[in-house]
Subunit: 224 residues, 2 copies
């Protein structure tokens, strides 16, 4: 029996990326989870990522980026105040202070480098362009350009296949919650809150988007 | 007087990237040098980069990537043998063992993130498609795709200008050596050798390409 093709899944340990990990498994890939620390407030999410990868039977690699300039983001700078705006305004007030400059470009480059090194055939990223926070690197046109750069900037330029999947890009949070349930994602292990306390804060953009998603999907969030 | 536009220059401390730094200055940019350690054999090049940046009056940022999978490259894995093949075969035997998976994609993503954070308008990369070692991420078509990904994956997606310059891409090493002399690059501070001894080894691909360049340019290498 030929071995399964490998897929690198960027895994934060939140709802979206955990759903991507199980999506990759459901598509027949041997999933290799890549978690990246970059000084974000919630190291707790790395522990969630590790637990989700273990539950999925996926390989797990964790790397740390120490990039001093990322402190411009309120997600990294612990002295900055996290935004707490009404749900209806999220994603509509320009790029929020939680934006990390070029984050998904960096993450995808790390994944492409790992894919090149392992001979993986796919990268899976949980970007989402609907219920999102207004980040430029969550838009479909970015991923189209990214694929070409990732292929041309690696061994895949000379042959082989490298796909970039963003299976959630056109789903709303309710759709993601439903997909997660269908794929049997261990939702109780996931962590989406930006604040990183013992329990989700309930007021950051990420908590609000997640709560509204489960609300519309019509079933309770197993992580609460 | 309006302040100069900023350019992020990826600086390894070698001939090519040092020439790029002085090229950016000559084009009216306030240069910000970015040096990246990734476990390469020659930490010595970081010291060269710092010295060249200082001589150019450029800001200098040094970051370290600890990516365990890069050990597949003989440039990173200290137990691997560096290739030493005849000059005429360099770049003609497929991708060499010194290839670091997705290196320039990673480097450019770091530069794009820094550019996004600082509001810089340009990224300068010393890639070179002629006298090169056969790396896929040194080809012009990669940089075209990269620019689109870098713009779409950052704040520049919503406006502003981000250029990616590869001023050496169509020069041979002799041409680079001549350009470096014209731009008054402090060549005696630069370091190109892959091996990282006290003096350049003279037998690695990088030493051979550099020596042949100065030879054809018709003047001695001030670093020797």
């Amino acid at each position: 029996m030929p071995s399964k093709p490998k897929a690198i899944v960027l895994l934060s340990g939140g709802l979206d990326s955990s759903t991507c990990l199980y999506w990759a498994k459901s598509k027949g890939y041997a999933a290799h989870a890549l978690a990246v620390s970059y000084g974000q407030r919630h190291l707790r999410e790395i522990n969630a990522a590790r637990a989700v990868a273990k539950a999925a039977g996926a390989q797990f690699t964790h790397v740390t980026l120490e990039l001093p300039w990322l402190a411009t983001s309120s997600l990294v700078n612990k002295k900055a105040k996290l935004p707490a705006i009404p749900l209806s305004r999220i994603g509509k007030e320009g790029i929020p202070s939680t934006y990390v400059p070029g984050r998904n470009l960096l993450f995808a480059s790390l994944a492409a480098s790992l894919a090149d090194s392992l001979g993986a055939q796919a990268i899976v990223i949980g970007a989402n362009a609907l219920d999102y926070s207004g980040y430029p690197d969550c838009r479909p046109e970015f991923y189209k350009a990214l694929r070409l750069a990732a292929v041309r900037g690696t061994r895949f330029a000379d042959g082989g296949t490298l796909k970039i999947f963003t299976p959630l890009i056109n789903l709303d949070k309710a759709g993601i919650a439903r997909l997660a349930r269908r794929l049997k994602v261990p939702l109780e292990l996931t962590w989406s809150c930006y604040a990183g306390g013992k329990t989700p804060c309930g007021v950051c953009d990420s908590c609000k988007l997640r709560a509204a998603g489960f609300d519309r999907a019509g079933f309770p969030d197993p992580a609460l």
